[in-house]
Subunit: 406 residues, 2 copies
């Protein structure tokens, strides 16, 4: 029988067993790097900004010359010139002069502050400074945003649109990233088919599709999907070939304790290290995680909703484990009011599918589906989690609602 | 000067002005449809399940024959046969017989219930039924999950991995979807360049990259990006060409009130309907939204962090408006404790970048960046929102933290 693990125990084991995954790296142009995981430390190729920049429209000055300027103690300065945006400024200040600089413009190399235009007045060829300035007021110093040589990307972080912007700003053109994971996705079951017309007794395969597209969304390349009967030899051969060619083998079906449930037996016959067989989650109990030749096997339940919930519950831990990402934060949620009672299942964490309605307040309604029903899967906007030690919630209770994150 | 709108006013206007976007549709295989927006109603091609299915391992019976069965009132039935998974069942019951059916198997066409194997005992060629059954106990009726002809996809919904699974389950092969939006992304500014080596006075372009990849992440195809000087004629020509070829034109820079801020003038000279010029958001005030020939122009601030925050704040409304999606729910959040005071800005909604730390509790630290700084953009894990009528929050306060949603 199952030696059932909790969700947290399972996550800890996944993190432990995936930590030495043999990952390959390659160099990629950062224009194409969105969503990849970095595999190197990258340093800024330049100071950002690489010249002292004004943060306002105003007059560059020596700050000590205007240190006591005010509306009643005006300091007149000679206008030495105007800086053009995007052009270097060759002008230098002295104690009697100032230079006009637009927002973002290069201030004279010896300027020490900029006075906003609002605090000045032009009188003939002079500029009257009416407000004091301290050193570096309204100046963004060379390198103060990012220093030349500063770390702009660490290894093992997901490359975001924002990071691409910063890499571009620092003159970086290409970065080393990990190759994306590849996967084989298997659906098993004598009743499962991907062929039309449908014969009585058969049902159309769902799991290879939901699993494939879920993984695709999360930057895993599913290079092959296959639907097979509950045939030990065929299933085992498929798994062996999968481990040879792909980084992950993910199967659904055949993972509970029953007549034709071969997943466990196949993992044993391969001498795989089965570190999870059964999780105290509802739905989703008959789940298997095993390592074979340092690659992860994921054995999901056959029921499509269960398979999806298990994948959704553990995928980010698997991904973070394999790529050694920083521990991810808890999932974000909405607080919503229940329109009906929901029952927990003592000893198991229940994932209850819900429909969300945003009226005057946010309301959630549980979607109750018999085992094997799949309509709920596309109807549900998200889910609530009822802990293993909680009997359930009552109508009117405020609960945390999680979205799928599409 | 700006006639500043609030965030909510801006969203309402975006929704209103984008509602009659001229969208084209095409047919796509559902294997390739992830993330597209549906453009038709799709009906199930089959009953799901398309036969009466057992939800347990057990014996199919007439429920009225075992209506009073119990441990002390055993009902013996003759074992008529065994149903194989995935095979049609041709056996029929009578009042004296039962048929073994595995979970998911086809029950005899005249069976009305299934008794779980745990509540039975085999004795010779008989099966002893030890528990009562009601009609349809442990049976998933033909069509009870999804009826043949039921709506499985409505128009104007985003196609998720879960929906693909359900479409596959109902025998749907291809669906009509809207063509993805295409966009031109422009960065303007005399100081902006995308060429190395960097000359003094110039800074490397960031916005075309962050905007392009942000849009890419959200299923918009950025077909061209361009960096141009603050040159009215060139900028205007670029915008006109953009409107001819793409669904969206998104520019950054040139949208505040200043010497070289041409965006507003160009929209006016095109007789575009400028429905937002200035938003009470910090950062991000100098933002323009306009319609030209029924296409949306987005004029973002030049400062990269501001541009990104404005895009992030309004993109989902733009996308939902153009594709007529159901109003989206409020953003999910985490509740976290502030490690420092943060200041609001009365009369403007402040978006404050933060770094999140998940220790014993979730902590957030504001990232303070001078105007023009970009390191904060890739350092920030998310942001908090300080309403226009809120002076700020104090160290130790619990606040809602929003993630970027990468």
């Amino acid at each position: 029988m199952f030696n059932v693990k909790t969700i947290d125990e399972t996550k800890t084991l996944l993190r432990k067993f995936t930590q030495d995954y043999g990952l390959k790296t390659f160099k990629i142009d950062i224009d194409a790097a969105l969503g990849y995981v970095s595999a190197e430390t990258v340093y800024s190729q330049t100071d950002v900004p690489h010249f002292n920049r004004s943060t306002v429209d105003g007059y560059a000055v020596f700050h000590n010359v205007v240190a006591f300027a005010s509306a009643s103690s005006i300091v007149p300065l000679a206008m030495r010139g105007i800086v053009e945006m995007g052009k270097p400024c060759d002008l230098l200040l002295d104690n009697e002069s100032c230079v006009y600089v637009p927002t973002g413009g290069h201030i004279p190399n010896n300027a020490t502050a900029v006075v906003m235009i609002e605090n000045t007045e032009v009188l003939g060829e002079d500029v009257l400074i009416k407000k004091r300035a301290s050193k570096w007021d309204n100046v963004l110093l060379k390198g103060s945003d990012i220093n030349h040589g500063a770390v702009v990307m660490k290894p093992n972080q997901v490359i975001t649109d924002r990071l691409i912007g910063v890499l571009k700003a620092t003159g970086v053109q290409a970065v080393t990233v990990f190759k994306p994971l590849t996967a084989l996705v298997i659906s098993t079951g004598d009743e499962i088919t991907d062929r039309l017309p449908l014969k009585t007794g058969r049902i159309l395969d769902i799991n290879t599709h939901t699993v494939k597209h879920y993984l695709h969304k999360h930057h895993v390349r599913v290079e092959k999907t296959v639907v097979i009967d509950d045939n030990f030899a065929v299933y085992k051969e498929t798994v062996i070939e999968g481990f040879k060619q792909y980084d992950l083998v993910i199967a659904s079906g055949g993972s509970s304790v029953g007549t034709h449930d071969y997943t466990f037996d196949i993992m044993q016959s391969l001498n795989a290290e089965i570190f999870v067989h059964g999780i105290s989650i509802k739905p989703g109990k008959p789940t298997i995680f095993a390592m074979h030749n340092n690659k992860l096997f994921v054995g999901l339940p056959g029921q499509p909703t269960s398979a999806y919930i298990v994948l959704h519950t553990f995928f980010s831990t698997i991904y973070a484990g394999i790529f050694r990402l920083k521990d991810s934060l808890p999932e974000a949620y909405l607080i919503a009011k229940l329109t009906q009672n929901v029952m927990g299942s003592l000893g198991r964490t229940t994932v209850q599918l819900v429909k969300i309605c945003n009226d005057d307040e946010i309301l959630v309604t549980p979607i109750h589906a018999k085992s094997g029903m799949i309509d709920a899967l596309s109807t549900a906007d998200g889910y609530i989690i009822i802990d293993a030690d909680c009997e359930g919630y009552s109508e009117g209770d405020s609960v945390h609602v999680y979205r799928w994150g599409d």
